[in-house]
């Protein structure tokens, strides 16, 4: 995989004096010309795509994730049994418990997966089964009654157990429950039922 670079182009200031008016006139089209080179070479395009998708992933902040799902901080807060201000603080935090992150992503309807990658090794998903039980402690100590939904070990849905299913039922019955929370609870209930059948 590693490539040896023998000779690199050098960007030398001496070239600046030799630039013609013509060079300057065509400067505005530079980005299109260079991108055309990328498109013309499958190798350049492959590397371009993989690097850009990596950068995209790193730029995907919690706030962007939430906004992409058209959810408000208030909705996430309701799903996690937190105050909206806590969600706001969460989104600005640079470091947090894995369990907190997992619950946030779960509330947004996604699933947190950890991928480790080393040089000369294909990226692999990191399994945290053994520490999971420690991680699954709820973040919100004071949850509003009937509103707290546990993210369970499986992580696929907000509620998976029988007990949680009844909780989801209560959520649906509660007139104070918001529309979004209800839709999540309803889908969880449906999932629990379909699992039972299996």
């Amino acid at each position: 995989m590693a490539t040896t670079i023998k000779r690199l182009p050098v960007d030398d200031e001496r070239i600046d004096d030799q630039l013609t008016d013509e060079d300057w006139e065509r400067a505005s089209g530079a980005h299109d010309r260079l991108m055309a080179f990328v498109q013309a070479s499958p190798r350049a395009k492959a590397r371009f795509d993989s690097v850009l998708s990596e950068i995209d992933q790193r730029q995907a902040t919690l706030r962007k994730v939430r906004e992409a799902r058209a959810l408000t901080q208030a909705t996430i807060a309701e799903l996690l049994g937190m105050d909206q201000s806590e969600v706001s603080r969460l989104e600005h935090r640079s470091d947090m418990l894995l369990s907190t992150l997992r619950r946030f992503i779960g509330a947004a309807g996604g699933e947190l997966r950890l991928v480790v990658s080393f040089p000369n090794m294909a990226p692999a998903e990191l399994r945290l089964d053994r520490v999971e039980s420690k991680l699954s402690a709820p973040i919100a100590k004071q949850s509003r009654e009937g509103h707290q939904i546990h993210m369970r070990k499986e992580g696929y849905s907000m509620t998976t157990s029988k007990k949680d299913a009844s909780k989801a039922g209560k959520l649906l019955a509660n007139p104070k429950t918001s529309k979004t929370v209800k839709s999540v609870a309803a889908s969880d209930l449906a999932q629990t039922k379909s699992r039972k059948k299996k």
Partner: protein
């Protein structure tokens, strides 16, 4: 954010594109520039950092050999691409790609000669593009 190039910077990049051995690196650099186009000022993290030694609002794009956070770059060179933000009177600001190079051998000394060259290039660039105004370095 719109991206513009100093003609010399385009020539430097085009040289990568024409060399089969350098085509991977070319793809990586263009991905960095496209990330700048996509995210503008909000681009943050490993791929960019401000140039504090410049009096302009100058930054660098970074192509760095492998680390935990940058597994895609699997070998040297350590490419840096200097760019500066410019204000426009009637439209959105632009980022001007000014100069690129490999700082593997020189390390931090690379900036000593190349930041002043980039500043001269920026001045020439805005002299020829009247609607652009270079921004000064932001105090942090």
């Amino acid at each position: 954010m719109e991206i513009q190039y100093h003609p010399a910077a385009e020539m430097w990049l085009a040289e990568f594109a024409s060399d089969e051995e350098l085509i991977d690196v070319f793809g990586e650099i263009m991905a960095l520039i496209t990330a700048l186009e996509r995210y503008g000022r909000s681009l943050e993290g490993e791929e960019t950092s401000p140039i504090v030694s410049s009096r302009f609002d100058m930054h660098e794009l970074r192509r760095t050999p492998p680390s935990e956070t940058l597994p895609y770059a699997d070998s040297p060179p350590v490419i840096r691409v200097l760019y500066a933000f410019c204000q426009r009177q009637t439209a959105d600001p632009v980022a001007v790609i000014l100069l690129g190079g490999d700082k593997a051998d020189l390390g931090e000394d690379w900036y000593l000669s190349n930041v002043p060259v980039s500043e001269r290039r920026l001045e020439e660039f805005v002299r020829r593009n009247n609607e652009l105004k270079p921004l000064g370095r932001r105090s942090t």
